[in-house]
């Protein structure tokens, strides 16, 4: 991440200077910083609401029940956390919300899942394998119906917008499965690296 951050900024400044857009680049620091805070602030209310609901769900045993339902799948995917970790229920809620395109609800669930995964994590500043897998699954953006895209297509007078749904679902499934497989491959490779370090 250090190099990505460094290169993003260096490339922006160098290319901005070559293109004669340096003023735009400088202005974008201001607008970008403002946007970041706006995004965070806009999350507060909805985050508070869903975290409140999740607290009740935890106390009343709803999350434990959901966790039990999906345990056969998560047991294999998230094999580095205890089978009955509270993270499992949060992960399930996160994917349900994502699948139905409810990004506002998915984020608080996802953050709760990360907090639970962090409790199982040995190095608090470094992502664990389970976290990388969970993130990979989230960045693939699995969704049953792409609601925003459909809204725009209807807006421009697209005759049969629903024909987009099946191919989109197919593509998002491919990306989602790839993310899981890639996470597992990287997990294996990085474990070997750790072992090599120990040997040397």
């Amino acid at each position: 991440m250090n190099y990505i951050f460094y290169f993003l900024i260096v490339i922006s400044i160098v290319i901005g200077a070559i293109n004669g857009k340096l003023q735009d680049v400088v202005n974008s620091i201001m607008t970008g910083a403002e946007l970041s805070v706006k995004v965070a602030i806009s999350l507060i209310g909805i985050m508070a609401f869903w975290l409140g609901i999740m607290e009740i769900a935890k106390k009343s045993g709803v999350i434990d029940f959901i966790a039990k339902l999906i345990k056969p799948i998560t047991k294999h995917l998230f094999n580095e956390i205890p089978e009955d970790s509270p993270a499992i229920g949060d992960i399930a809620m996160n994917f349900t919300a994502n699948a139905f395109g409810l990004a506002n609800a998915a984020t608080p669930f996802g953050i709760r899942a990360m907090e639970e995964l962090q409790k199982e994590n040995n190095k608090k500043d470094t992502a664990s394998n389970s976290m990388c897998l969970f993130l990979g699954m989230n960045t693939a953006g699995f969704q049953l119906v792409p609601t925003t895209v459909l809204a725009i297509l209807i807006g421009i007078g697209y005759k049969n917008p629903t024909e987009i749904i099946a191919p989109t679902l197919l593509v998002t499934t491919i990306a989602f499965v790839s993310a899981i497989v890639l996470s597992k491959i990287f997990q294996r490779v990085s474990r070997q690296e750790v072992q090599n370090d120990k040997n040397s």
Binding site: I11, I46, V62, F100, T162, V171, A175, F186, S190
Partner: protein, 177 residues
């Protein structure tokens, strides 16, 4: 099929809220007290992710303002022409992993210029609908728990995005070309 899915999307949150609250009351959980206890975390999480969001969003805003994305699109255009991919979708492919609002802007632009019947519009719609803003997800989720060493998470996210793009092009070619 779409109608059913839309109906589920509409009902799922109200149903979750009803089920959770009812289970709480039945099990004699003090629902109001527990709700406010959990909700307290909302503010802390939002404040905690600000530094991570500033780092990512500012860097990406700078990149978009510099014209680097157009430059990259120009460089890649000849490669994609070989695979029968319209050049208009290139900026979308690049921006998709970086900025959600940016990708949405480019998509509406493509849809409005190319029109409802164009192959470009269909391809762009599938690309946008089938992926998520990788860098935003990374910043928010890892930021919320204070993780700065992401290990291979970035590469998994970006590689999966790339596979998604290739899949979108192939599927679109099979169905609509």
């Amino acid at each position: 099929m779409t109608k059913i899915l839309n109906l589920i999307s509409l009902w799922i949150l109200p149903v979750i809220i009803l089920v959770v609250l009812t289970c709480g009351i039945v099990k004699k959980v003090p629902v109001y007290e527990e709700f406010t206890k959990g909700a307290k975390g909302g503010f802390q999480v939002a404040v905690k992710i600000i530094p991570y969001l500033v780092a990512i969003i500012v860097a990406i805003s700078m990149l978009r303002a510099s014209g680097a994305i157009e430059l990259l699109a120009q460089l890649l255009a000849p490669v994609l022409a070989k695979f029968n991919v319209p050049a208009d979708t290139l900026p979308l492919m690049i921006v998709r992993s970086l900025s959600g609002s940016g990708a949405l802007g480019i998509f509406s632009d493509i849809a409005n210029t190319a029109g409802p019947d164009a192959y470009t519009t269909k391809l762009a719609a599938i690309m946008l609908g089938s992926s998520e803003t990788t860098f935003y997800v990374l910043a928010v989720y890892f930021g919320a728990v204070g993780i700065t060493k992401l290990r291979y998470a970035v590469w998994v996210g970006l590689l999966a995005d790339f596979i998604g793009i290739v899949a979108a092009i192939s599927v679109c070619n099979l169905m609509f070309a």
